[in-house]
């Protein structure tokens, strides 16, 4: 049975008629046209679908819509402000911290949640946070460096 669910998506209030048992990733990708979050494994094992719900990184492939109600969801599409790249996005570009780019939205959102909660992370905190996000191209070293650069530039704030 469909239900009307209210939540915030990328800063805007949303009201959606949807089966509460449906999965956030597929609703984002097929119903809402937000294809930034990617399917990689379907079992919260790779992180390609990572989005932020109330400041925490979650795997949208394993979140039901009913658990999104009343919350604030941010996807990669919501990271730019006034057409300007977020410092993390900018740092990924400047460090060439990607190859095929398929894991990139999930990597950036996961790093974003780290900076939200630990604005000055150590290298080992970065590695610990990113451990569950997989990249097959092997951009890991540059991703770590990009996160360090972004954190330094932001000087302790998440935006």
């Amino acid at each position: 049975m469909k239900d009307t669910l209210r939540f915030k998506l990328n800063g805007k209030p949303m009201s959606l008629e949807v089966e509460p048992s449906r999965t956030l990733l597929w609703v984002l990708r097929y119903d809402l046209g937000l294809t930034g979050p990617k399917y990689g494994c379907g079992e919260a094992l790779c992180g390609a679908c990572t989005v932020i719900i109330d400041r925490q990184a979650v795997r949208s492939c394993s979140v039901e819509m009913k658990d999104v109600a009343g919350k604030e969801v941010t996807t990669i599409e919501g990271l730019e402000r006034n057409g300007k790249l977020h410092p993390l996005q900018k740092a990924f570009v400047e460090h060439d911290a990607l190859q095929c780019g398929y894991c990139t939205p999930g990597m950036i959102m996961n790093a974003y949640s780290l900076l939200l909660n630990h604005p000055r992370p150590s290298r080992s905190q970065i590695i610990e946070q990113m451990e569950g996000n997989l990249c097959r191209c092997g951009a890991h070293m540059r991703i770590v460096e990009a996160i360090e650069t972004a954190a330094a530039q932001m000087g302790g704030s998440a935006r």
Binding site: T35, C100, P105, H140
Partner: protein
């Protein structure tokens, strides 16, 4: 319901095309020159007919196929606005040629790098291409591409001479314009192209030499990263079509299993589900992938499973049993003489498991059939072979099939397998609707074309002064690539059993295929481990031993460069330091790696602390891109060296996701240092694969140096290391 940023059909139809000039070619996919102009606009188009380098690439393809383009499909276009578009049948899957090809084009044409746009992997617009693999883009597509740019420049100079009334000899090109040398007259490319429809074939205008390069050889950041960090980059699964149906297909429990009976009534009862059952194909379709998935779960099917003839433990024995006759890859001297001259002989057998490609993007495709014409958007490394295969499957002319390749989310050889796109094509024809086939991770593992398991046997000897006297090498099922040794050995023979990664029927329980530097990872692990053992027998430091037995100047140079960068100090292995070295060659490039590891004897766990890689690849078009590829190779290579191996019983593949199939993670990361040796006067060689080939050997040699045990089987799992330690 509000969609924040609705996507227009135009945007969705785009291939890899940042110029925004092409939307949909309309009904005619097989374009005449006139139609091509109509589609892309006027200007100057340069074609290339069968240049030697392309013929070399094309000549190696198996069976028949098409000739290189002659009547349509340009290599580049200079638009009436001065914008330059480069067309290539190659695709972008992370390897970065979208950047390096644009650099080459801009440099040769003397235009600003930012004015160049690339259209890639669209069979309606791009010149025929065999596929993106074998690190061939820069090596084989690069030269004709540059030649086309040189030809375009010659046309522009001719036009300028006429327009300015100045002889050609007194004209020079710079920044998208033609100038009079020592004069004031000038005309831009845009002005020259305006109102023109000029077609030109490459006649042989001279290309730049290294001294003329302005962009080539300079590090350039990726040009696709803004799209990729914002989520705007379109991969195949991000393409939508009105009326799109998501398909889920009934899969057998194991390879070789036959469908005996099927009951689809449970799925049929679900609202909006469409079912297709034609011969071996049973699929459920629904606009939303979750409903399709649920419906698939309601299908009851019985399969007959064949008796498994091997599993991941017995496979090596099986492979040796079924191996075909060997072929000589290389030989010289006299093995018996060499054996007589040896003071010690090392006789070893190396094993290597099946390894998955596991790109982060599973195989995905969308197919739409309208008026007898088929369009496929696919994550593929081979758009043109897919075009032919889809045409033949559906029984329509290839000219009625267009393949568009959006960004590909990793390939590594695995996306030369086009199965998912053919499934989508078949379902689009059967349903008359646009159909998306997006494999789940389990399907991706099941239908992967794995790197084959292999056995390598080597007998080799060394004399008292530390020179290798003979080398008797036999590789089973890895393939010959990288099997030929390059040391200065007077008596040697290299045999390869099997035709490489494709192998004969009855060898592998499932499909096998090319995996980044096919064959070379297994061959280099075996060869460089054996060389290390000979060094130990001779009581010589492994770097010194290699140099003593190496004449090849390129190989010596990379080895010396790696040793210098690392700060290598000679010692006999095992020294307890945990240092290893390995050399290799692939796709025309040579590499040497040095690694430092720490081994935890109680857990068997190996932590790679540092990897230095020196590479000579001829002309390096984009040193930044080349470094990223080297780092990627090193990081990816940690996986096949340490953890990656497929578990299976016959055709039943046990690994279906990343919980049991372990690929490299952030915490594994060593300090990586790359050195690219200057060779800009030599032709460009491959860069996407060479640095992966030494990773098994360099870690195995470092593990030996650390704990004194030889790891002859990859991957070097903690369990295997503990077993070897207890045996020692």
């Amino acid at each position: 319901m509000k969609i924040e940023k609705p996507l227009t059909l135009e945007e969705e139809n785009l291939a890899l095309d940042f110029s925004g000039i092409i939307t949909d070619p309309g009904p005619a996919f097989h374009l005449s020159r006139r139609e091509f102009f109509k589609l892309v606009g006027g200007g100057i188009l340069v074609f290339c007919t069968a240049p030697r380098t392309m013929a070399q690439e094309g000549g190696r393809r198996r069976g028949g196929g098409r000739q290189l383009p002659e009547d349509f499909n340009a290599f580049l276009r200079i638009g009436e606005d001065g914008r330059v578009t480069g067309y290539t049948g190659k695709i972008e899957m992370g390897q970065g040629v979208i950047t390096s090809l644009a650099q080459m084009l801009a440099d040769e044409l003397d235009v600003a790098y930012d004015s160049v746009h690339m259209v890639m992997g669209d069979t309606a617009l791009c010149p025929w291409d065999r596929g993106t693999f074998g690190s061939m883009t820069t090596r084989f597509f690069g030269p004709p591409f540059r030649a086309a740019a040189a030809e375009a420049k010659a046309v522009l100079v001719e036009l300028a001479a006429e327009k300015l009334g100045v002889p050609k000899e007194r004209l020079k090109t710079r920044d998208g314009a033609v100038y009079e040398v020592g004069g004031s007259r000038k005309v831009t490319y845009a002005e020259l192209a305006r109102g023109k429809k000029i077609l030109r074939h490459v006649k042989g205008a001279p290309v730049e030499t290294a001294a003329d390069f302005t962009l080539v050889g300079k590090p350039e950041l990726r040009r696709d990263s803004v799209e990729k960090v914002t989520g705007r980059a379109k991969f195949s699964g991000d393409i939508k079509q009105p009326g799109l149906l998501c398909a889920r297909i009934l899969r057998p429990p194991a390879h070789g299993a036959k469908l005996v009976s099927v009951d689809t009534s449970g799925a049929r009862a679900i609202d909006g589900v469409q079912i297709v059952h034609e011969a071996d194909l049973v699929a459920v379709l629904h606009p939303d992938p979750e409903t399709a998935e649920m419906a698939l779960g309601k299908i009851k099917a019985k399969f007959d499973q064949p008796k498994p003839y091997a599993d991941d433990k017995t496979i090596f024995e099986h492979l040796l049993k079924v191996a075909p006759r060997g072929e000589v890859v290389a030989e010289g001297g006299n093995l018996a003489e060499g054996r007589k001259a040896a003071a010690s002989v090392v006789d070893e057998t190396y094993l290597n498991s099946y390894v998955a490609h596991a790109p982060m993007e599973p195989h995905t495709a969308l197919a739409r059939m309208e008026g007898g014409k088929l369009t496929i958007w696919a994550s593929t490394q081979t758009p043109f072979p897919l075009q032919d295969a889809a045409a033949s499957l559906l029984g329509i002319p290839a000219a009625n099939v267009r393949v568009i390749t959006p960004f590909v989310g990793g390939g590594f050889g695995g996306k030369s397998n086009i199965r998912q796109a053919l499934e989508a094509a078949r379902l689009a024809k059967l349903t008359g609707k646009p159909v998306q086939v997006a494999w789940t991770r389990a399907e991706e593992f099941f239908y992967d074309t794995f790197r084959p398991a292999s056995v390598i046997k080597i007998k080799a000897g060394v004399n008292k002064p530390g020179l290798i006297t003979f080398w008797d090498y036999a590789v089973y099922f890895a393939g010959a690539r990288g099997s030929e040794q390059f040391y200065d050995i007077p008596n040697h023979r290299t045999m390869s059993y099997s035709s490489g990664w494709s192998a004969s029927e009855g060898a592998h329980p499932f499909a096998t295929g090319p995996w980044r530097a096919p064959g070379n990872n297994s061959n280099t692990h075996a060869r460089e481990s054996q060389i290390d053992m000979l060094a130990s027998k001779a009581g010589v430091d492994p770097v010194e031993f290699r140099l003593k037995n190496l004449k090849d100047p390129r190989m010596r140079r990379v080895l010396q460069a790696a040793a210098k960068q690392f700060g290598w100090t000679p010692a006999k292995a095992p020294s307890g330091r945990g240092l290893g070295v390995a050399c290799g060659t692939d796709v025309g490039a040579v590499v040497a790696h040095i690694a430092e590891v720490a081994v935890d004897k109680s857990t068997g766990n190996v932590q790679v602390r540092r990897v230095v890689c020196a590479q000579e690849m001829g002309l390096c078009v984009n040193p930044e891109g080349a470094r990223i590829q080297m780092e990627g190779c090193i990081t990816m290579g940690l996986g096949y060296a340490l953890t990656e191996e497929l578990k299976f019983t016959g055709g039943d593949i046990h690994d279906r996701n990343f919980d049991t199939y372990i690929i490299p993670r952030f915490s594994w990361l060593p300090k990586i240092e790359t050195v690219i040796l200057d060779a800009k006067d030599k032709p460009a060689q491959g860069g996407g694969e060479p640095a992966v080939i030494c990773m098994g050997a360099v870690i195995a040699n470092a593990v030996y140096d650390a704990i004194g045990v030889r790891m002859l089987q990859l991957p070097m799992t903690p369990q295997r290391i503990k077993e070897e330690l207890s045996r020692a």
